[in-house]
């Protein structure tokens, strides 16, 4: 009986393997087909050499970095402060951070377009810079559930109250406490939130498309409609980035476990 259970387990696992790896193989194989009759990296050469690709990719990378910095500055002091001074507020803050999973992104950006247009009290969409800032805020909202949970989990492992008192008794102000006590302690957690944010922002489509910014997501959709093999190459690149981000998260967490074990 146990043997048959194991047999069926292998079957289920094998079927899953097939379903999950065939598209990856298919995408890779397709991306190599650009030259007729032989496999080549021509599609990659074309994509990487495309100035549009370079611009949109760079734009999205810069956006991702700004989003991460903004997210860390917004979330870390808040999570710290709530744990230290206002524990009763925690469920409410947590609820707010989970809202972006409930409200579809397309609805949020719809709200932005209506609320921050040129005739509003905060006409962010009136200029390119304003729209970039709005887009960055939008990305920060999308990343909020992951960022907040990552930082809050990191804070759980340290004794916030004692560390703060120790720092204060040594004469540290709040900024010193944040920068030299709290942040180094939750750095690993922040990093894993940051990599996830990076993966989300790089491939994001709806916000960038509806706010009309030249990001990587809309570029990929445009390529999908106009080219044959380049989209597959783009998909391979995007998948590699996702893997790299997840790999770095794993690495960061493993690193942190190691460090904790030493103590």
């Amino acid at each position: 009986m146990i043997r048959s259970a194991r047999f069926w387990s292998w079957i289920a696992f094998g079927a899953g393997l097939l379903y999950f790896f065939l598209p990856l193989i298919g995408m890779f194989e397709f991306s190599l087909r650009a030259k007729r009759g032989e496999y080549s990296f021509l599609a990659y050469e074309r994509v990487l050499g495309d100035p549009q690709f370079q611009q949109t990719f760079l734009y999205s990378v810069v956006m991702a970095l700004f989003t991460i910095v903004w997210g860390v500055f917004l979330v870390t002091p808040t999570a710290f402060w709530v744990r230290l001074k206002m524990p009763k507020l925690r469920p409410y803050i947590e609820f707010i951070t989970l809202l972006p999973l409930v409200i579809p992104p397309i609805v949020i950006v719809f709200g932005y377009i209506r609320l921050y247009n040129t005739s509003s009290f905060l006409p962010l969409t009136g200029s390119a810079l304003g729209t970039d800032i709005l887009l960055m805020f939008g990305y920060a909202v999308l990343a909020l559930p992951y960022m907040y949970r990552a930082v809050d989990t990191g804070l759980r492992t340290i004794d916030v109250g004692t560390l703060t008192e120790a720092a204060q008794s040594l004469g540290a102000g709040w900024i010193t406490i944040m920068a030299r006590v709290v942040l180094p302690n939750v750095l690993v957690a922040v990093l894993s939130g940051a990599f996830l944010t990076f993966a989300i922002v790089i491939g994001e489509y709806v916000f960038a498309a509806l706010l009309n910014r030249p990001a990587f997501g809309p570029y990929m959709v445009w390529m999908g409609g106009n080219k044959a093999y380049e989209p597959a190459a783009l998909a391979v690149i995007a998948f590699t980035i996702t893997w790299a981000c997840m790999g770095l998260i794993q690495l960061a967490t493993r690193f942190s476990k190691h460090e904790r074990a030493k103590r």
């Binding site: 696992f13 598209p23 298919g26 809202l99 999973l101 409200i103 579809p104 491939g203 981000c245």
Partner: protein, 300 residues
């Protein structure tokens, strides 16, 4: 500052010191609350209020009534169908794979590899995912070509088309199944071996153990994850957009077109559609939250 510390360390704190510091405490969370209000809550409220307003700003229920028009009902039905189907299949297949990997006697490294891969795959959504499926099951895709040339199976002649309901379902499952695996694996780990042994020592068969012990324990997790997967697929835009262009009218695609170019020629109907989406994903998430709280009782 020292006041705050004193209030924290001496218990019970003297009343006059607490009040000003409590008011000051709010400054610490103010940046976050202001940000969340301006860029998350206010935009959403704007849409919700707009759904109940005429273009002139008067209160009305006409926009919601407009949702009953066949051109709007159809996309909602289609979206519901696709979300229900991918959530159901995602739960079922994810459960089977997770059970096989955690409880099926497979080597331990497979479990870790599967969880890592699920973490990646559940985030590999959107545009690139659509491209991967086009490259695999599209007209010139690898599987299509291999089936045709090696096995003589013509998928297109058999009625398969990637740019369709079935194709979209197949594509969505690529992020739905991994999400299910990620969520259900801890729940499966929560099934203690003692329960099984106890059931067996009382003479239960495997089927009885599953029906009378495992399933009732897992039930809240399963239903809760179902609701989450439903919401996950209901709000997805980019994958469908890149896969089908706008040939498959699901709600997010209609809303996208409406925001871009007012294709329905009624801006406030757009608000109503968005409001409808919030209501549906909101209900689904509420179910998830309630059931997850219930499921966690068994995970201690």
């Amino acid at each position: 500052m020292t006041d705050a510390t004193a209030a924290l360390t001496t218990a019970p704190p003297p009343a006059p010191r607490v009040l000003p510091s409590a008011a000051l405490n709010w400054f610490g969370v103010a940046p976050f609350l202001i940000f969340a209000f301006l860029f998350l809550i206010l935009p959403t409220l704007h849409i919700v209020v707009g759904a109940f307003q005429t273009p002139e700003g008067d209160l009305t229920l006409n926009n919601l009534a407009g949702l009953m028009a066949p051109q709007i009902v159809k996309p909602f039905v289609l979206s519901m169908k696709i979300s229900l189907l991918t959530a159901f299949l995602g739960c079922l297949l994810g459960l089977i794979i997770a059970a096989a990997v955690t409880k099926g006697g497979l080597p331990g490294w497979i479990r870790d590899a599967m969880l890592t891969f699920s973490g990646v795959a559940s985030n590999f959504a959107g545009v690139p995912l659509a491209f991967a499926f086009i490259a695999t099951l599209g007209r010139l895709g690898l599987v299509t070509v291999v089936l045709k040339e090696v096995f003589g199976l013509n998928l297109a002649a058999m009625g398969f088309n990637l740019i369709s309901f079935v194709g979209l379902t197949l594509t969505y499952l690529y992020f739905q199944i991994p999400l299910m695996i990620l969520i259900i694996t801890p729940a499966l780990d929560g099934l203690k071996r003692e329960w099984r042994e106890a059931a067996e020592s009382l003479g239960a068969s495997t089927g009885q153990y599953m029906r009378m012990v495992a399933l009732p324990v897992l039930w809240p997790s399963l239903l809760g994850t179902f609701a989450l997967l439903f919401a996950n697929s209901f709000g997805a835009v980019a994958t469908a957009m890149a896969l089908t262009g706008s040939s498959l009218s699901i709600v997010p695609i209609i809303l996208f077109a409406q925001i871009r170019g007012d294709v329905l020629q009624d801006p406030h109907l757009g608000y109503a559609i968005a409001f409808g989406m919030i209501v549906i994903t909101g209900i689904a998430n509420l179910i998830y939250i309630v059931l997850r709280a219930r499921a966690e009782r068994w995970l201690k």
